[in-house]
Amino acid sequence: MPFPIWLHFLPDVPLEELRSAGVAITLTGQGSWHAGMLHRPQEEAVNMLDLANDHWLRNSPPSNKYAWVQLELPAVRLLSVAAMCRRITKLYTSPARGLPYAFRYQKTVFNVDGKILFGKSEHGLTCATFILAVLKSAGVDLLKLGEWPQRDDDMDRHRELLAMLQGDSNVSKAHIAEVAAEVNCVRYRPEEVVGAASSAQLPVSFLDAETAARQLTQAFALRAASSTP
């Protein structure tokens, strides 16, 4: 099976080919993924803006373990998405600021003043919902959020992530309690968000995002198999 044409593995397809803004994803473990926003000031190196952990927003070039997807938006919109990424970088990549990590997502956006505005009963973002929030803040609705189902295996993944937060002494007990109450919430998986970003027809339905995520997962598996001696 060939790779989907919208998924570009580094270093085979270099980021020089990125038009202003896109998304990137990598496998971090068995069935677990990490994703971030790619943005490039014209003629400069591409950086990935990603929520790596609670209050840890990074902005640095992605490693060659990542694959990337070009956002299929008009060029003038891509420039604004990249500018939004730079604005968020200025406001939140300082270690003292960062962004809180939490599961529930529906309406959180970066407000007009550049500050994060949490939706009702929302307390933070994941790596995947960070992408949704950045795009939403630039006027781009990536997913038909209302179509996402609750899935048992998402609850398991939330519990794993919660355990990681609980093991981090820098995370307040109050915040851990808030996140613990979100374990049952709907999860927008990184592979679905990144897969959806390949679509020119937005917002993307759950079925289309799920299909794209499956293609992405298969491509990573094939890539790993082909590089194993």
Partner: protein, 92 residues
Amino acid sequence: MSRSRKLDAALDFVFDFVDELLLAGRFREVNRFLRGVPVEKLDPAILVGFLTITGPARMTLDAWPELIVRIKAQLRESMPPEELARVMVGLE
């Protein structure tokens, strides 16, 4: 400085300047600034940047309805209707 670098620098200026004013609650100055945007002299990417950064505050900015009318009229000059429709998704 190349055109693309100038575009990025101009977008950063728009985003930072408008953000800082809104953060400080200086809505009157933002309205005055938006009313004075010379839409006929700016690149379409900058015009879209204005709509992107001010869109979330459209309900609190008196100048916004007039701004979007002026920007759409200007964009219509530089792109076909189907492209304009695609560019405007989520900005109105």
